[in-house]
């Protein structure tokens, strides 16, 4: 215990001496969040819209203003000729065109079905499908409104006449936890996992390999000190630092991206702790394989960056991956951490909802620690 403390205080002094690295460890993650948080935004707003209004009626203007007022579209202008439309799209000056046929208001008043056309620039498939979704929703809302108006405007006799009553069945989707479907709310937990993972794995791997490189490891091995207190002493300071760093990232996410905190801080800290211990164990394992800091850095980055980014459900949903890949995601700790993090922060769920993920994190940490200490013990004596 005393020896662990001796190693830990030595490590801490080394870290404190290197102010620059400490600042990098503490604040760069929060800075990354800022950068990526604004860059990684799948929401589409202010889609440039041109309108070809062949009806020029009250109703047609109502439809256009419902598009503009939604905030998803911004009106570039009205156009008349199809050739002008082509030019606007080709030059990228508009991404969507709403065409309202003549007789739009007239047909509506006769309760006739009408069709409006929305043309969307499909050069980016993701954006196009999102814009199409927005347009569909807006048009559905508009048409529902028209039906309601038509019914309530009819004569009282007709209103009481059951045969004239049109049952309005509308789907009212309700999206929980993130009602505006803001992608930042979904992405920020992923970023937290991503940033914490990289800093924890890299800093741990480097700190052990540095001692190998400089020969201090050999000197320490000559002392009556078993690997366990050495490793605990060495990793403890980094655990504390990366923990603080992770909390800083979460706090800045709350401040900047309105990330809610609906669950328990205690559970959150437990999840972060488990995740970071696992990440550090991975870093340790790397340090037993790598002989130079350069190699350690590369392995650490490769083994944490891509899996956490791609295989964790951070950006791409795991359920839509091929079965084999889905199977592989089971060894990516960020996968479980993300479930727990989203459950705690966005849903305010209690432990019963994600205990399996916490268990998985604990198992990952134990297995990685076990492997690392096995390898270290072999190297040690």
């Amino acid at each position: 215990m005393r020896k662990t403390l001796a190693v830990a205080s030595k490590e801490l002094r080394q870290i404190l001496r290197d102010r620059r690295s400490l600042l990098i460890l503490l604040f760069v993650p929060a800075f990354f969040l800022l950068l990526y948080g604004y860059a990684l935004n799948f929401d589409i707003r202010n889609v440039k819209l041109a309108v070809q209004d062949k009806d020029r009626s009250t109703k047609s203007r109502e439809l256009v203003s419902s598009f503009v007022n939604s905030g998803y579209f911004s009106l570039v202008g009205y156009v008349d000729s199809p050739s002008e439309l082509d030019r606007l799209v080709d030059e990228g000056r508009v991404r969507a065109i709403l065409t309202i046929p003549s007789g739009f208001e007239h047909d509506l008043s006769l309760h006739q079905p009408v069709t409006v056309q929305v043309i969307i620039d499909g050069d980016n498939a993701n954006t196009a499908s999102t814009v199409s979704g927005y347009a569909r929703t807006l048009i559905n809302e508009f048409s529902g409104e028209q039906v309601r108006l038509a019914l309530s405007a009819g004569p009282a006799s007709q209103r009481s006449d059951p045969s004239r009553r049109v049952p309005v069945i509308s789907v009212e989707p309700r999206i929980w936890y993130n009602p505006q479907l803001r992608s930042t709310l979904f992405l920020v937990p992923g970023l937290i996992a991503y940033i914490s993972m990289i800093t924890a794995v890299v800093s741990t791997a480097l700190s052990v390999v540095r001692e190998k490189e400089r020969g201090t490891m050999e000197q320490v091995r000559m002392a009556p000190l078993s690997p366990l207190p050495y490793i605990i002493g060495k990793t403890l300071p980094y655990l504390v630092i990366s923990f603080v760093s992770a909390i800083l990232v979460i706090l800045s996410a709350m401040l900047l991206f309105e990330l809610p905190m609906r669950g328990s801080w205690l559970l959150l800290c437990a999840a972060i702790g488990l995740f970071l211990i696992g990440a550090q164990a991975q870093g340790l394992l790397i340090s037993t394989i790598a002989e130079t800091q350069q190699v350690a850095f590369q392995i650490a980055l490769l083994s944490s960056l891509l899996p956490t980014m791609i295989l964790s459900g951070f950006i791409f949903p795991i359920t839509s991956m091929p079965t084999v890949v889905q199977w592989i995601t089971h060894i990516v700790p960020a996968r479980y951490f993300l479930v727990a993090l989203r459950a705690i922060v966005l849903k305010g769920a209690d432990i019963t909802a994600f205990w399996q993920d916490m268990m998985a994190l604990a198992i990952f940490a134990s297995v990685a620690l076990g492997l690392a200490s096995l390898r270290l013990r072999r190297e040690w004596a």
Partner: protein
């Protein structure tokens, strides 16, 4: 050294009476795959002795030291260090020994005092004992007033003495020094050997490897190992006895390299080697007059400025031993 507390754990003292050897190696062997790094090595080192360990790079010195320090398990054979069997109780060995390597493995980003505190911590020193030992190390290394200097800012000689201080902080009875004087100026080297002498007089056994053969003269006894085998063992004087029947003649000549070639062909000369600008020729028997060699050289047009028998140096011994083992 001020030593009131038990400096060496009882386990280390158990079997080592006053007459027992500090280090006792019997048939020590270490293989890496098919490569035999250390081959059936046997020797023993007395308490308080300075024991020099010489050998070319890759001769097996480091492997032997690593086994004696409990870091590497011997393939076969036994080694008792401070009475503790290195393969049975490597941790017990670690408590009994101090180790310092050529890299002066200190934490460069830490201050002098922080390094001492760390090594004190991992050797389990605390309280008054630690305070006393810290003071001892600062005095020994001449680092008083430099406690808060960063280690990386210390000149080589000071770092070397601090590394030695950290290695003997826990008052080990046996110290292993693996090429401890590399990259250090001659004055610091001299001072370092004085420290080793002091340690030895205090009863500490010192096993030291070095590349500087002049330094090896400071050792009480010297072992030369070659290809993992013990090639020679004895005091410097004893080792030089191999030349008792084969005098060494030092020749200073105008063209040393040509002179060597000529001498190599001479029937009286066993072999030659270059020492700086001088040529050392080992004669086949003591009755040969050096003047004969001078005449032979002059006959070939080489100017001889001086010629005469010299007492063999350890370097002569080392080269001789290495050559003989290499030829065998």
């Amino acid at each position: 050294m001020s030593d009131q507390t038990g400096s060496v754990p009882s386990a280390a003292l158990e079997k080592s009476g006053p007459s027992a050897a500090a280090i006792d190696v019997r048939g020590l062997t270490r293989r890496f795959g098919t490569f035999v790094a250390v081959d059936n090595l046997s020797f023993s080192v007395k308490q308080g002795e300075i024991f020099g360990f010489l050998g070319a790079n890759g001769a097996g010195k480091s492997t032997t030291i690593r086994m004696l320090c409990g870091l590497l398990k011997p393939t076969s054979g036994t080694a008792l260090v401070g009475g503790v069997d290195v393969s049975r109780n490597p941790e017990g060995v670690k408590r009994a020994i101090g180790y310092m390597s050529q890299r002066f493995s200190l934490y460069e980003a830490l201050t002098v005092d922080q390094n001492i505190a760390f090594f004190g911590g991992i050797y389990g020193l605390r309280g008054e004992r630690f305070a006393a030992r810290r003071q001892f190390v600062l005095e020994m290394a001449g680092l008083q007033g430099r406690e808060t200097t960063l280690t990386r800012e210390l000149p080589g000689g000071w770092r070397q003495r601090l590394a030695l201080g950290c290695a003997i902080l826990h008052e080990p009875k046996i110290v292993f020094l693996d090429e401890p004087t590399g990259g250090v100026d001659p004055l610091s080297r001299r001072r370092f050997w004085d420290l080793i002498g002091t340690l030895s007089r205090d009863g500490v056994t010192v096993l030291v490897t070095t590349h500087y053969l002049d330094e090896a003269e400071h050792c009480h006894r010297i072992a030369i190992i070659q290809a993992g085998k013990l090639a020679a063992l004895g005091t410097a004087t004893e080792l030089k006895q191999v030349f008792s029947a084969r005098p060494i003649v030092e020749i200073n000549a105008s063209q040393p390299v040509q002179a060597m070639a000529i001498l190599d062909k001479n029937a009286n000369v066993e072999k030659t080697s270059l020492f700086g600008t001088a040529v050392h020729a080992v004669l086949r028997n003591a009755s040969t007059d050096p003047a004969v060699l001078a005449a032979a050289l002059r006959a070939e047009g080489i100017e001889v400025t001086s010629i005469g028998a010299v007492t063999p140096s350890l370097e002569d011994v080392f080269l001789d031993v290495v050559e003989r083992v290499g030829a065998a």
